[in-house]
């Protein structure tokens, strides 16, 4: 909301600096985003009059305008569609400081040759002057402006650009801001006089109003103005409209815009002669009903849409846009002026359904007080009369089914103390509330009954009153204290800490944490499968996706991690180790999706080949498995690895990670098809772990085991076994002998040195007894038993 200081001063005396005022408003919730002193940089911008408009010799869309500046006439090239001979315009000489209409940057106007014609200046738009964002055509100034005078003589002002929060629709008006200033600076608010002369003829005799949808239209006021004389509005009104970023059009339109800016109430004028049956009916549309709106579009309505109709047909979409048939035109003799209140929900739904929004609809959507309609109707009618735009009919038609009883909200000293921690006397509280226009009653001691004023819509409970007190007192005056309430008992999630522990282990192993988006497309999900299929249940889809690439909620996180690897490989990164811990979304019937947290790690097999010493070994399956084992060991989990099937992994080189018969993850080499799908150049290895399952399993504390007090003995054995016998089987067998505390495989060989179909595995066995120092003879004996056992189980023989 742009508010000129000069206009504010009509309702409240301002003797503080603009900066201080801005600071006060900002602190009270009306953030002043910008204070613009218009005219300050307008030292080379003058009032000019367009004397002639000729076509540009070399360009169809451009024209040559001759502009009279009083002392001289200059010719400029202009592309504005609204350039008209006789108009008064803002003319910038070269060297003037202007806002670039396209880039928004402040620049100095340079002499220019446009398509072979020298332009000696520029006719400005609002945007170029820095008044408003309007850049469609040029700003046309009131005729009263004198040629040759500086523009700043007329339009120099201080403009506050205020960001109004959605609860304060009343502050989308000059009066609303002025009221705030009055309360914050302790000055009285000066309400303008709203009286005017009326004719004998009554509005009631001209029109009746029927509200058939009182739930959507609490109040409808109308006045009538006859003998309409269209013409420009006076300079003071045009000045203010321009300063607020609106273009003056014609008196009756300007008046409705002016009152909307002044009071915050949208108004609408109908051509009375086009209203059939002297009747205004506010009703829901019937399904499929149509009407042409002011923008000459035919609109088709559903029954959600609230319409203003006459006896025969719709004449406006309530609160959104007028109808074409009843538009005020040159020949209009009588206008019917509407000042109505519509429910915010109705207008919100309507604007959404029709994909149509206007200044009026955005105000209604924030919620206006129905009391406002009456005052705004009076003000607009008064201004019409004052401007000589017509003769005002007697009275106001006021249909007010939504009238509610004035309900007070109570506030006591305790309420302020309890919510703000600020001890104010009841008198101080009352003073704050009264300064904002709230009526206060004290029917009993210690409590104030406050009534919200007619322009406010947002004061409905004690907490609302407390905020008003805080705003006027100043948030800075609220003291500081640390919580003194009792500490809650354990409510916290330990998963947060567990997740962080996982991250730290991953980072310690050289992995970079990444975070990827949870939305994807079916195409990308299909890329994850060697068979180009979607795994599991169909993923959840968005109703309103931002793009085709972001249409589905991911059911895994590997696609994100793989994409990140591919992208970084394109950036010539090598030796990539990535991990992410994020949620995947598994659809469920009649419930929110199951959100499982997954840890995904991804490792490339490219090693730096430019190191001057021995090159590192490229990663392989066992590297990935080693990472998983270390991570799990850190959580106290020792899992089994069984050949697995995973859509993205090489079936010969992947494993399911199993703990207690439960699958907790996978590890393996990425399937070559999937690598190709993601455009990853070299082999890559991935693992995924279900964080929620790990968390459940890892909940147990480790149990202390005594540190061995006696020395251990180490023995190496090389076994010859059938090639199919897995490492796992042998180790499980060896571990059956309690005296073996550790088994380490240190060599694995298949090839010429051993018979066909056999392999050699060399183990170092660590023998350890808890109660004695082992002797060689004893271990020799045990080892014989072990070999006999292995021979029986796997046909293993000692390799000589």
């Amino acid at each position: 909301m742009k508010v000129p200081l000069s206009w504010l001063k009509e309702y409240v005396d301002v003797d503080t600096s603009s900066e201080e005022l801005a600071q006060k408003l900002t602190s009270a919730g009306l953030e002043v985003a910008d204070i613009k002193v218009t005219g300050g940089s307008w030292d080379k911008i003058y009032i000019g009059q367009v004397l002639a408009v000729n076509p540009h010799p070399n360009a169809d869309r451009l024209s040559l305008a001759t502009v009279d500046l009083g002392t001289r006439q200059l010719t400029v090239v202009c592309g504005a569609p609204n350039l008209t001979t006789g108009d008064k315009v803002a003319f910038a000489l070269t060297g003037a400081t202007l806002v670039n209409g396209h880039t928004g940057k402040v620049e100095e106007l340079k002499p220019a040759r446009i398509r072979g014609v020298t332009s000696e200046g520029m006719i400005c738009s609002e945007k170029e002057l820095g008044i408003a964002d309007n850049h469609e055509g040029i700003l046309v100034l009131p005729q009263e402006y004198e040629i040759g005078k500086l523009l700043s003589d007329y339009l120099g002002d201080v403009i506050f650009d205020i960001e109004v929060t959605p609860n304060r629709a009343d502050c989308l008006s000059v009066m609303g801001i002025a009221r705030e200033i009055a309360a914050l600076t302790g000055k009285p608010f000066k309400m303008p006089d709203l009286s005017y002369q009326e004719s004998e003829k009554t509005v009631e005799s001209m029109v009746s109003v029927e509200i058939q949808a009182p739930d959507l239209c609490p109040r409808y006021c109308a006045t009538a103005i006859e003998d309409i004389k269209l013409g420009p509005s006076p300079k003071w009104m045009q000045d203010r409209l321009i300063a607020c970023g609106m273009r003056p059009i014609v008196n009756i339109v300007d008046v409705t815009n002016y009152v909307m800016l002044e009071f915050g109430q949208p108004l609408h004028s109908f051509d009375y002669s086009q209203i059939k049956g002297k009747k205004i009916i506010v009703r829901r549309a019937s399904e499929g009903e149509t009407m042409y709106t002011l923008d000459e579009q035919e609109r088709k309505f559903t029954s959600d849409i609230l319409l203003i109709a006459d006896a025969e047909r719709p004449v406006a979409v309530a609160g959104i846009m007028g109808g074409l048939a009843t538009e005020v035109r040159d020949y209009t003799r009588t206008i019917l002026l509407e000042s109505a209140n519509f429910s915010q929900a109705a207008i919100h739904k309507g604007a959404l359904a029709l994909k149509l929004s206007s200044e009026a609809s955005s105000r209604y959507e924030k919620g206006l007080n129905p009391e406002l309609t009456y005052y705004a109707a009076k003000r607009a009618t008064q201004l019409m009369a004052r401007l000589g735009a017509g003769t005002v009919a007697k009275g106001i038609v006021d249909c007010y089914p939504g009238r509610t009883e004035k309900r007070p909200v109570s506030i006591a000293r305790r309420d302020v103390k309890r919510l703000l921690g600020l001890d104010l006397s009841l008198t101080e509280i009352e003073k704050c509330l009264r300064s904002l226009g709230l009526e206060c009653e004290k029917p009993e001691t210690g409590v104030i009954y406050a009534f919200k004023p007619w322009w406010r819509n947002d004061i409905n409970c004690t907490a609302d009153l407390v905020e008003e007190v805080a705003r006027v007192t100043g948030y800075d005056n609220i003291p500081l204290s640390m919580l003194s309430s009792s500490l809650p008992t354990g409510q916290g999630s330990r998963l947060f800490a567990f997740r962080q522990q996982l991250r730290e282990v991953m980072v310690a192993m050289g992995f970079q944490e990444i975070i990827t988006y949870p939305l994807t497309s079916l195409e990308v999900l299909k890329k994850l499968s060697a068979k180009s299929e979607i795994d599991g249940v169909a993923p959840l889809k968005l109703e309103n996706s931002m793009s085709r690439e972001l249409e589905y909620l991911r059911n895994n996180i590997r696609m994100g991690v793989l994409s990140v690897m591919a992208r970084n490989q394109r950036n010539r990164e090598i030796h990539i180790r990535l991990f992410e811990i994020s949620k995947v979304f598994i659809p469920r019937t009649r419930d929110l999706p199951k959100e499982s947290e997954i840890l995904c790690g991804l490792i490339d097999s490219v090693v730096p080949d430019i190191y001057w010493q021995v090159k590192p070994k490229p990663a392989d399956f066992y590297f990935a498995k080693g990472v998983v084992q270390a991570l799990l060991a850190r959580c106290g989990i020792y899992a089994d690895y069984l050949p697995g099937e995973d859509m993205s992994l090489n079936p010969s080189r992947s494993a399911d990670i199993i703990y207690n018969k439960m699958k907790i993850g996978v590890v393996g080499e990425i399937h070559p098809r999937v690598l190709a799908n993601f455009d990853i150049s070299e082999k890559a290895f991935m693992f995924e772990l279900d964080v929620d399952k790990l968390f459940t399993i890892a909940g147990k504390q480790p149990v202390y085991k005594a540190v061995p007090r006696y020395p251990s003995l180490a023995r190496d054995i090389a076994l010859l076994v059938d090639a199919e016998v897995t490492y796992d089987k042998i180790v499980t067998a060896l571990k059956k002998f309690n005296i073996i505390s550790e088994v380490r495989l240190f060599d694995l060989y298949e090839g010429k040195q051993v018979p066909e179909g056999k392999k050699s595995m060399a183990f170092r066995l660590i023998y350890q007894a808890g109660d004695r120092t082992l002797k060689d003879e004893e271990v020799d004996g045990i080892q014989k038993q072990i070999l006999a056992f292995l021979s029986k189980e796997f046909g293993a023989t000692l390799r000589s």
């Binding site: 602190s27 009270a28 919730g29 929060t165 609860n167 304060r168 915010q344 929900a345 919100h348 924030k366 309890r418 919510l419 703000l420 921690g421 907490a463 407390v466 905020e467 705003r471 948030y475 609220i478 003291p479 204290s481 640390m482 919580l483 309430s485 009792s486 809650p488 354990g490 409510q491 916290g492 999630s493 991250r503 730290e504 980072v507 050289g510 992995f511 970079q512 990444i514 975070i515 990827t516 949870p518 959840l540 889809k541 968005l542 109703e543 931002m546 990140v564 992208r567 970084n568 950036n571 990539i576 180790r577 979304f585 929110l592 999706p593 959100e595 190191y611 001057w612 010493q613 590192p616």
Partner: protein, 345 residues
């Protein structure tokens, strides 16, 4: 006796020639010059030697002792210089690059979340988390934003395509972490002190300052006697721990439907010290938090009596912290996961 002495000398000298390590040299010293050496025992037994020879034997023994001591010193010096020479041959170029160890890093967003949650944990707040896909009820209605509420326009929402067999129960990507307030209050009775980090989503065109996925941390406390003064105290302390003890804080009125009164908290710009610069958009202040006293309707909706209990809630954007701290100029960098970006933190 003299023979014995001469024998010691010749033996000692012979052995010394073959010594190659400092350990052997030390053993040699103890053997021939220590308190239990032959020479010492000879000197000690001088009383048994006939008087006529005693002086001569004694003199010779002492002479031999100093000879051996000298031999020891010179041998030791030779060996030390040999070591120095051999180390000289080991000389390497210490400026050559070391093994290229790869260290991992925590994502800057995670770091910021950990830091924020750490500060609040130390003030008695406990971590709670909520789902990223939510019911409309938790994201909006229960937070005082019924359908068609104007404040909903500020939350461009990504809706999930979900239909129940019986009517609708709209599902969405949560637009803020505030639903956790409701979920926590439904589950727990006061006193409550929760801090809740998480990702949130908006229907948003991305540019250098807008991203459709970002992170928030929500905090709230509910109990008897919780005031806005407590909110100010806690947040002021938080801001100073996060941004430094010298930071100034501004509390101003702001509007969020689920709190009343509402507050916005800004810190004085650490780039310009409040004078106004590009970072603070010339205002001198950087907005970092939205907060307020939990709205009585919200408390009531969760079965908590607003006449007995009060509470405060606050929320902040997480990425903003590293953006401000490291001067990051494009929020899209966070989730494009370019290692050249991530490696910097």
């Amino acid at each position: 006796m003299l023979d014995q002495i001469e024998e010691v000398v010749s033996q000692a000298n012979a052995e010394l020639q073959n010594i190659s390590s400092f350990e052997e040299l030390e053993a040699w010293r103890i053997r021939y010059l220590g308190r239990k050496s032959k020479l010492t025992s000879i000197l000690r037994s001088l009383g048994d030697v006939p008087i006529s020879q005693r002086k001569m034997v004694g003199a010779r023994a002492n002479q031999v002792r100093s000879i051996l001591e000298e031999s020891y010193s010179s041998r030791k010096a030779t060996m030390e210089s040999n070591v120095a020479v051999s180390l000289e041959h080991d000389k390497i170029d210490v400026s050559l690059p070391g093994e290229p160890f790869q260290i991992g890093r925590i994502h800057p967003t995670t770091r910021a979340i950990n830091e924020i949650c750490g500060i609040f944990s130390s003030m008695g707040f406990q971590v709670a988390e909520g789902p990223e896909v939510e019911w409309e009820y938790y994201n909006f209605d229960a937070l005082n934003m019924p359908p068609d509420h104007p404040a909903r326009d500020g939350f461009a929402t990504l809706w999930v395509d979900y239909h129940t067999p019986t009517g609708t129960r709209p599902m969405l990507m949560r637009t803020h972490t505030s639903p956790v307030q409701i979920r926590s209050m439904e589950k727990t009775k006061p006193p409550i002190r929760i801090i809740s980090p998480g990702r949130v989503y908006r229907y948003e065109a991305t540019d250098a300052t807008h991203e459709w996925m970002f992170s928030q941390v929500e905090g709230f406390a509910v109990d008897t006697n919780i005031t806005m003064a407590d909110l100010k105290g806690i947040l002021f302390e938080f801001v100073r721990r996060l941004f430094g003890q010298d930071r100034k804080c501004r509390f101003r009125c702001d509007y969020f439907p689920f709190v009343e009164p509402g507050v916005e908290i800004a810190i004085d710009c650490f780039m310009c010290g409040g004078k106004g610069c590009r970072l603070c958009q010339n205002s001198g202040w950087i907005e970092i938090l939205g907060a307020g006293m939990v709205h009585p309707d919200v408390l009531r909706g969760c079965g908590i009596d607003p006449e007995v209990y009060s509470g405060f809630a606050f929320g902040m954007g997480v990425e903003r912290i590293p953006i401000l701290r490291y001067g990051i100029d494009d929020i899209r960098l966070f989730y494009s996961n370019d290692l050249k970006f991530l490696n910097q933190f």
